[in-house]
Amino acid sequence: MSFFFEVLVAGLLSGVMYALVALGFVLIFKASGVFNFAQGAMVFFAAATFAGLQQEHHLSVWLALPLALVAMVVLGLVIERVVLRPLVNQPQITLFMATIGLAFFIEGMSQMFWGSTPRGLSIGIEDQPFQWVSDRLNINISQFDVFAAFVSGILVVLLALFFQRTRIGRALRAVADDHQAALSVGIPLQYIWAIVWAVAGFVALVAGMLWGARNGVGFSLTFTALKALPVLILGGFESIPGAIVGGLIIGASEKVAEVYLGPHVGGGIEGWFAYVIALAFLLVRPEGLFGEKHIDRV
């Protein structure tokens, strides 16, 4: 039984990491209706920039971090200016395709700047179990996972405060609700979009640092996007709590299935199992757990 709990907790904590990437998707989808496939590439770019500044230019963490943040904000602003603005009023699928192109571009760019060899990244937290928990409850809980969950928790609270309590946050919610109405009460749409992309860049940086510290900074970081997609459809594209809850469900069930179901079908099921779970949920709730219900009218 304690083994089951260990698997469950590890799954829940890794789910938090998925949710972190999914958050970036949700932010952008909520505010601009763009399904940003380049989020994975942005995570990679952020992590590569941070690690590259630290290791190639020997900057301290406290210098590399703001610089990487500046790079992500600039990237977000440039994307809004160069990619989104010419594509205003296009159907969603066109914007989605543009972000796939963007993903290619960012992948090429980050490898050009920082090389294509994977690097390690240390943020000072070891991937070791808590000794006193192992001793008392006989469950191994990774310190790193708990730290990651803690960071994500803070991030979600910050984002929630930003959305609910600030002037810009209110404008963001208005834009998310109805572009036209927001425009007509004088909210500058493009300014808001630029902010959203910058914030998504910040979320990508946090996700990139945590994922990079866990798995190393390499091209494989772009695949984090694929891990986040089932979380997204399970939680609903428009919901920040959905991303968190979806991440927890996906992470936990994926780990449990991997351990208990995997050996029976020959292993390697983590590539698709999350999608099957998300699909099963969708058949019951087609707009995800917390997604907005769309009523179709003729």
Partner: protein
């Protein structure tokens, strides 16, 4: 001045509804088909046939498949490569386990298998729409590739699922030169493209488009949503399956499940978008564009390297060129979407309109 339909009167409905109602279009089209069948295999060298023309044709077929689903029926799918994999592996197993089965039957059955699998993975489309559906089709992408690797029966117990396609036989003749492979590919593609064009002009195609434009409204006017959506998935997967079988038999020869990645699905989606959604002609243009751009980039960076080498005794490092290729590719797609979101097919149409008036301004 040459391209004008003045004086061509249609006296029957059949004449009015033909695919190419303008005589000049018909002449050009027939000339093009004759050229592709008769002249190209005689003059093109092996590189052009097997590295350019065959992949363009095969990708055009897969693009038609995805275009039927996404462009005509409005269901976004990211699992194209997986359905191609089903076609490739079905063809391999049919050839392996059914002795003496003729090639056209293998190709058709490969398509039918893919259609069946596609219809199953199309089931979620009855409940979910848009991006939710797109992500759901990713389940097909990952699951099928996983299943083909895991169950070694599919690849006749070869290691890591690699299969080597058997030689193609047609009427007792072995097709193994590039020209023969090209001809069989061309024949299949032309036939299926014509079928697709006609299907999309029929009531089936109109039902697809009604569902695409608004599925609730389509249901209200009496189009059975379930049948239409599943049919769209099945037909689309049929085309992808045949394309996959040709991909293995006529193009690569040796394929493995991991070759049919999400990247390939994206490439085909790019072809649909760049070519133009809801256009059969666009599928060919898009496929040609996406196949030719990397080749063109490669050639031009090599040329650039040659110039730099001779002038500065310095050349671009290899990693730079490959990353540059990624960036240019991504940049081109964004540029294209911004400039002409309706794709090359639309540009072609605009060009034709201009040509009708030329040389006069109005």
């Amino acid at each position: 001045m040459l391209y004008r339909e003045a004086g061509q009167f249609k006296a029957t409905y059949a004449a009015d509804q033909q695919i190419f109602p303008i005589r000049q279009d018909r002449i050009v089209m027939i000339a093009l088909v004759v050229f592709m069948f008769a002249v190209v295999p005689a003059v093109a060298d092996q590189y052009w046939l097997s590295a350019v023309l065959i992949p363009v044709l095969i990708f055009a077929l897969a693009t038609i498949g995805l275009n039927i689903l996404t462009g005509y029926a409005g269901q976004l799918s990211l699992g194209t490569a997986a359905f191609m994999a089903v076609g490739a592996f079905a063809a391999y197993n049919l050839d392996l386990r059914v002795p003496g089965i003729p090639l056209p039957v293998v190709l058709a059955l490969a398509g039918v298998f893919a259609a069946g699998v596609g219809a199953v993975f199309g089931l979620p489309s009855l409940r979910i729409k848009g991006f939710y559906l797109a992500v759901a089709t990713l389940a097909a992408q990952f699951f099928i590739v996983w299943a083909l690797v895991k169950f070694s029966w599919f690849s006749n117990d070869s290691s890591s699922g690699v299969i080597t396609a058997q030689k193609m036989h047609l009427f007792g003749k072995v097709l193994d030169t590039p020209a023969q492979k090209y001809l069989i590919t061309l024949a299949v593609v032309v036939l299926l493209a014509l079928a697709a064009k006609n299907l999309m002009r029929s009531s089936t195609g109109r039902a697809f488009m009604a569902v695409r434009d608004m599925d609730v409204a389509a249901a209200v006017i009496g189009i059975p949503l379930m049948r239409t959506k599943l049919l769209a998935f099945a037909i689309s997967s049929f085309y992808c399956g045949v394309a996959g079988a040709l991909y293995a038999y006529a193009y690569l020869g040796t394929v493995e499940p991991e070759g049919f990645t999400l990247d390939l699905s994206f490439r085909i989606l790019f072809m649909v978008i760049i070519g133009g959604m809801g256009s059969i002609l666009g599928s060919f243009l898009g496929a040609a564009f996406i196949v030719l751009v990397p080749i063109g980039l490669n050639v031009s960076t090599q040329w650039l390297n040659g110039v730099l080498q001779s002038m500065l005794h310095w050349s671009l490092p290899g990693s730079l060129t490959s990353n540059l290729e990624l960036m240019v590719f991504g940049g081109l797609i964004i540029f294209f979407l911004a400039v002409e979101p309706h794709g090359l097919a639309r540009l072609w149409q605009i060009g034709k309109e201009k040509l009708r008036l030329w040389p006069f301004p109005h």
